[in-house]
């Protein structure tokens, strides 16, 4: 049984037939081989736009995503959606854009958390994606630049990356994607040549600094 079955009718909120077929398509996609090098891998950098929720907390308003495919950031390989009145469609389309690629965020506790909540609320379940958090990885990859965890702006500044509009989920994802390219370059130098190795390193407390 894969995770999709939990999204199917009976196991959660009702899912429209069209959406269900989308989700089936996504589930049928081949899983990428995470032991290939970064430069043979498609990563998807995901970012959220949120607003305050009634009763406290943040509500997901929009998502933006930019792929880094084989090391390159191509403008055609990008996605954005507002949740608006069809949040389930937006989340399913995001999932289809990610297409089982390793997902990259800055500040996973917030972004990954917000996204997973939205998947669960709208699609009935949390898809089992691989998540990389640059907030955690960057200080270990570039300890000489900034020691310890820092705000995203500090890292963007350290590499001269312009953040064109921080209220726009897509443009912010673009900035994070450029930061991810920086991360991949150093990871490769450090012998962390594949997404699998990077994921393992992220979960190894010994390797991590400042977390």
């Amino acid at each position: 049984m894969n995770w999709l079955s939990r999204l199917l009718p009976g196991s959660g909120p009702a899912v429209a037939p069209a959406l269900r077929s989308t989700l089936e398509d996504i589930a049928a996609l081949p899983a990428p081989d995470l032991s290939r090098s970064h430069y043979e891998t498609r990563y998807v950098v995901v970012n959220t736009e949120t607003g305050p929720m009634e009763g406290g907390g943040q509500r997901l308003l929009a998502v933006g995503a930019v792929a880094i495919n084989k090391g390159l950031l191509h403008p055609g390989d990008a996605f954005q959606a507002r949740l608006g009145s069809a949040p389930a469609d937006a989340m399913a389309n995001l999932l289809r854009f990610i297409a089982k690629a390793p997902a990259v965020v800055y500040n996973a506790p917030f972004n990954q958390g917000t996204l997973e909540r939205a998947f669960e609320n709208n699609l009935g379940s949390i898809p089992p994606l691989e998540w990389l958090d640059l907030m955690v990885l960057m200080p270990s990859l570039y300890p000489e630049r900034i020691a310890g965890q820092a705000r995203m702006d500090a890292w963007l500044g350290a590499f001269g990356i312009e953040r064109l509009d921080h209220r726009d989920a897509l443009l912010e994802a673009l900035a994070v994607a450029q930061l991810h390219q920086v991360a991949l370059a150093r990871a490769k130098q450090q012998g962390l040549g594949s997404p699998r190795e990077l994921l393992d390193a992220q979960s190894s407390r010994k390797w991590l600094r400042g977390s």
Partner: protein, 636 residues
């Protein structure tokens, strides 16, 4: 899926591109095409972006953020800079990607750098889409052309310095082994040795070959003949001791200074062990300074006989080498050679007029072919003729005979001065080429009326005529008539155009160049037949069509091309291409003739350096472009 995301990111590309030349003036469609296809890559500081070993580049790169350094790799420097830093908005490698060849430079990120990357195929498509970008790339290639010229300069100034300047080390000036005798030798025997060897300076050296003295011709009179010196005494008693010596590494300038300071005319040259290596005379040094444009010119104009002109002819070659060394472009260089050869020919004609009385005869000495176009290289044989007017009262035969005898002598003297007799007998001494105004007109007219292959070939030689000596009015009238005949004759022009398209530029589909399949010259390209001539023939058609009187190819291109509405930039790119090929021919002929073999036009592309190869390819592309124009204009 969702195109609004792509549009947003493409917009960020366009915002960036619009701030940088040449993209700021790029046509909207082309800019959009570019923006859609650029991918961003990151290169950390000190990492390689593109290296010559990577093969033909897959991408055209535009620096987005950071700094990239272009560094020359390999032993041969092909550009004037050894490193060049590129910043945001600057693109590379334009030359390599245009030519589909590995880059000559290595490109390294000197800081953390983001580059936009455009796939190579899209780069070429972009040039088609965007005239402004194409122009930018053409200009860039043209600047490479300049650099290559500067490179040639360096190469030749080295050679010229070795042979020519006052900084030449004395070791390079010694022409033969020194004549030396032992100090004990009887003076009579020493003098006999001097006569025998035909030298003006006798070195005296011990058994260890270290010079101890010197005796020169001028000493003989003062010290031996007049005082009645006893010739049985040893030479040591009469020689100048110690001799003036200089190390072989000293320069010609040092030697000149030494001679001037001590009032001597000879210097003994020794090596590090003080062993005698040779003798340098004042005359050897003088020869170094002798060759200059003005000197040659006045040498020619005052030459009293063919021997003096032969010397001048050798000087012209030497000057050509010097001018190449000074970085003069092919156009000016060939004009210089042409001007000096003109002066030489005129002087030969003048000297012959002393022996052949042509007083009162209206005639002109014509130059055809490359000489007529001011485009002589260094191994050009003679192509000449005579046009004259037959006075009503005169008999034709005796006058023509006089002209032919005169022409024969001039042809022979030209041959003696290094312009070989024309194998095809295109010479004024050929009765078929010593013609009256009406006969020339008839000849030209028949070729135009019936443009069979031989007529067309003749047209390519004879229509490029120019007056070297005599009555310019005759030639002018003939030119005027010729242009009036050809300009209004599309059939003839079409035939000329077809003839000009007979040979295509040797650009390969798979390899860069198509080389000659002649087994005697494997891997070579004849730069005359498959290079220069493509431009020359096309320019001729344009000039005949547009009524341009100039005979030089560059002038024809500029004037005629301009008249039929070809853009000036395109025309000068074509002229640049032509000149580059001429420059390669000159260089090749120089290197060859220096080695004693006769210069030809066969160049091995594999022997050229990377940049020259690239530019040569671009030059051939320019040839293709001008041919394409003819094809379109004449529907061939």
């Amino acid at each position: 899926m969702d195109n609004s995301a792509a549009d947003t990111l493409i917009r960020t590309h366009l915002d960036f591109l619009r701030r940088h030349a040449p993209f700021d003036r790029m046509e909207a469609d082309a800019l959009r095409f570019l923006g859609e296809r650029l991918a961003t890559a990151f290169y950390p500081a000190e990492s390689e972006i593109l290296m010559p070993g990577d093969g033909a580049p897959n991408y055209f790169y535009i620096v987005y953020r950071g700094k990239v350094q272009a560094r020359q790799t390999g032993g041969v420097a092909v550009t004037e800079y050894s490193t060049l830093t590129l910043g945001p908005g600057e693109g590379f490698p334009i030359g390599a990607i245009s030519a589909g060849r590995p880059s000559t430079n290595g490109y390294l990120a000197v800081e953390d750098t983001y580059c936009f990357q455009l796939p190579a195929a899209d780069f070429l498509k972009l040039q088609e889409l965007s005239p402004s970008f194409q122009l930018f790339c053409t200009r860039y290639i043209a600047s490479l052309l300049n650099q290559s010229r500067e490179q040639l300069q360096v190469q030749f100034s080295q050679r010229a310095a070795e042979q020519q300047t006052m900084t030449t080390p004395l070791s390079g000036l010694i022409k033969k082994a020194p004549v030396s005798v032992a100090p004990e030798l009887a003076t009579r025997a020493a003098l006999e040795r001097m006569v025998e060897a035909g030298v003006g300076c006798l070195a005296v050296a011990g058994e260890d070959a270290k010079p101890v003295g010197v005796l020169t011709q001028s000493d003989i009179l003062k010290r031996i003949v007049l005082p009645g010196f006893d010739l049985t005494r040893p030479i040591a008693d009469v020689m100048t001791a110690p001799p003036h010596t200089l190390n072989a590494n000293a320069s010609a300038y040092d030697a000149a200074l030494e001679m001037a300071t001590h009032g001597v005319r000879h210097i003994l040259v020794v090596d590090a062990e003080d062993t005698l290596k040779g003798v340098i005379s004042e005359r050897d040094l003088f020869a170094l300074q002798r060759i200059g444009l003005r000197q040659i010119r006045s040498g020619i104009e005052s030459a009293a006989d063919v021997q003096a002109l032969q010397r001048a002819s050798r000087d012209i070659r030497q000057l050509a080498l010097n001018l190449l060394a000074q970085g003069i472009g092919a156009e000016q260089l060939t004009q210089f050679i042409s001007a000096l050869n003109d002066a030489l020919t005129r002087r030969i004609i003048e000297l012959n007029l002393d022996r052949h009385d042509l007083y009162g005869v209206e005639y002109a000495w014509l130059a055809f072919g490359s000489e007529g176009r001011h485009e002589q290289t260094l191994s050009t044989d003679q192509d000449n003729g005579i046009i004259y007017v037959l006075p009503e009262w005169a008999d034709k035969e005796p006058l023509k005979l006089r002209l032919l005898e005169f022409a024969r002598d001039v042809n022979n003297d030209l041959a003696a001065c290094g312009f070989p007799l024309c194998e095809g007998n295109i010479m004024a001494s050929n009765p078929d080429l010593c013609l009256t105004f009406d006969e020339w007109r008839e000849k030209f007219g028949s070729w135009i009326r019936e443009p069979h292959p031989e007529a067309l070939l003749n047209a390519t030689i004879f229509f490029d005529y120019r007056v070297l000596y005599g009555d310019e009015k005759l030639a002018y009238a003939l030119r005027h008539w010729l242009l009036s005949m050809t300009g209004g004759n599309p059939a003839f022009l079409k035939a000329m155009a077809a003839n000009a398209l007979d040979v295509s530029p040797p650009l390969g589909k798979i390899r860069d160049f198509v080389t000659d399949d002649d087994p005697r010259h494997p891997g070579t390209i004849d730069l005359k037949k498959f290079g220069a001539r493509l431009f020359v023939d096309a320019a001729r058609v344009l000039s005949l069509r547009a009524g341009v009187e100039a005979t030089s190819t560059a002038q024809r291109l500029r004037q005629a091309g301009g008249r039929i509405g070809m853009p000036a930039e395109e025309l000068s790119a074509m002229a640049d291409g032509f000149h580059f090929i001429q420059l390669l021919r000159l260089r090749h002929q120089h290197l060859d003739t220096d080695h004693g073999s006769s210069g030809d036009n066969r160049v091995k592309p594999d022997d050229l350096n990377e940049l020259d190869r690239r530019i040569l390819k671009e030059a051939f592309r320019q040839a293709r472009k001008i041919q394409l124009r003819l094809k379109l204009d004449y529907q061939i």
